[in-house]
Amino acid sequence: MTTLPLSLTVNGHHHELEVDTRVTLLDLLRERLELTGTKKGCDRGQCGACTVLVDGKRINSCLALAVSHDGAEVLTIEGVAHGEELHPVQAAFIAHDGFQCGFCTPGQIMSTLGLIAEGQAGADPERIREGLSGNICRCAAYGGIVEAVLEAQQQLARTDRRTAA
């Protein structure tokens, strides 16, 4: 077994680790850091259940070698809410019944955060669907997600305006 040192900031907490070079970011989060909100679905980059933000961008953590991300900042579903206060995306998913089961939902929410940050979809439902097409739920429980994304975007835009003012 080959190991290497790895420094990682996850949800604002800094970690200095020694990891097997074969470990993916997904397995590191779940097995070493016990952050099991990020789900292992297909483990091959096809379902999106393992989506996390790395340095602000959504990626499939199952296809990322942990040691290749030395120094990265990672945001997982556990780091999205502020204490008891839900993030607007989480609140909108509840309000619009955008939940799939617990397996796909964390990835959907992380992917939605990425989508909004990318700023490419706007209020266009077609582009929202396309932008979230990397999150595949075999129960196909997609109803409500588009409405949730539209509302969360409006909510976040209002918050931004307040912050700016």
Binding site: M1, T2, L4, T21, R22, T24, D43, R44, G45, G48, T51, K57, R58, I59, N60, C62, L63, A64, L65, V67, S68, S111, G114, L115, E118, Q120, E126, R127, R129, E130, G131, L132, S133, G134, N135, I136
Partner: protein
């Protein structure tokens, strides 16, 4: 997954030296490499992590007006670069029709050129595959092969190249900048990927240890910006490989075609440049009759490699559709949404 050495070189020459030995693999985005390693299709002894190499993640305009895209530029970053999308809309369109947002955020320009075929027999280590294990045979021949090649295939291999990005690139005369122990060399993308012949395991002209450092687009490539499209047809509207795709770039003046570029994806082991069809378009009227003639020329040498004769007719129609939509003009908002059989394309009849 087999244990491997992991090295993180600081310079390009260190990387090339580290990857010179057999069993070495470069790691950039890792989106294809890790998938292949998890499936046991490849098992490198040494991984050379090139993600920290300096100066490979830049997009630069060259003195001659051409563009140089560093090999480590992420697919999403390139596609969302406003100046890039304006000058090379079909390339942005192709990039954004490939994979998913998560994968595009990780995948790199250099890695895209090197992704392996998605032939299911290549991925299934219990099957025979001359590409994965030379001399073992080809389970795709006579197998489930409705999505396999219709151009340039051989009895040794009927797989297709999966890239969307490479299709408009080959149409626009892209050049691959390669560095190896002998120094730097340039190869056109058209020559970069090899047809299978008797040696399908040799997929590109890269020698062991050679590293893609950049992809270049010549200045002329931007002259097609007003009439350039990438049209991809897949088995669902998004996040799937192309059954067939076409990249088209035209210069239209006074109703006549003054410049034409055409390449097809999903049809061969490499992005397929249709030069004879380009010649047929030059000087012709920019109308549907010319487009149909060009499509016939583009597919004249096509033949089924199995249950995929439908792809020949599908490819003809995709070429015609792509030409009609390119003539209608590049959409204002690039990238346009991925092609869907249900979405309307300006100038294209639904029954066309």
């Amino acid at each position: 997954m087999r244990d491997f050495d992991f090295v993180r070189p600081a310079t390009i020459s260190e990387a090339i030296a580290a990857a010179a030995g057999p069993g070495s693999a470069y790691l950039a985005g890792g989106t294809n490499l890790l998938d292949l390693m998890k499936g046991g299709i490849t098992a490198p002894e040494r991984i050379v992590d090139i993600t920290r190499l300096p100066e490979l993640n830049r997009i630069e305009t060259l003195d001659d007006g051409g563009l140089r895209i560093g090999a480590l530029v992420r697919n999403a970053d390139l596609a969302h670069d406003p100046a890039f999308a304006k000058a090379y809309p079909a390339v942005a369109e192709a990039l954004l029709s490939g994979a998913s947002a998560q994968l595009r955020n990780a995948a790199t320009v250099g890695g895209n050129l090197l992704q392996r075929t998605r032939c299911s027999y290549f991925y299934d280590t219990a099957s025979a595959c001359n590409r994965r294990e030379p001399g073992s045979g080809c389970s795709a021949l006579g197998g489930e092969n409705r999505l396999h090649a219709i151009l340039g295939w051989s009895d040794a291999c009927i797989a297709t190249h999966p890239s969307d990005f490479c299709v408009p690139l080959v149409a626009l005369d892209a050049v691959v900048e390669i560095e190896g122990k002998q120094g730097r060399r340039h190869v056109t993308l058209e020559e970069f990927h090899r047809l299978p012949g008797d040696t399908p395991q040799r997929e590109t002209v890269l020698e062991p240890g050679e590293l893609i450092v950049a992809v270049r687009l010549p200045a002329e490539a931007a002259s097609f910006a007003a009439h350039a499209r990438y049209l991809k047809v897949r088995e669902r509207t998004s996040y799937a490989f192309a059954v067939v795709s076409a990249a088209v770039a035209l210069v239209v003046d006074g109703g006549k075609i003054r410049g034409a570029r055409l390449a097809l994806g999903g049809v061969a082991a490499k992005p397929w440049r249709a030069r004879s069809a380009e010649a047929a378009l030059l000087g012709a009227d920019a109308d549907e009759a010319s487009f149909v003639r060009a499509a016939d020329v583009a597919l004249a040498d096509a033949s089924p490699s199995g249950d995929n004769a439908f792809k020949i007719e599908l490819a003809r129609r995709i070429v015609v559709r792509a030409l009609i939509s390119a003539k209608a003009g590049t959409p204002e908002r690039i990238p346009a949404l991925p092609a869907s059989p249900f979405s309307s394309i300006p100038g294209v009849r639904h029954d066309a």
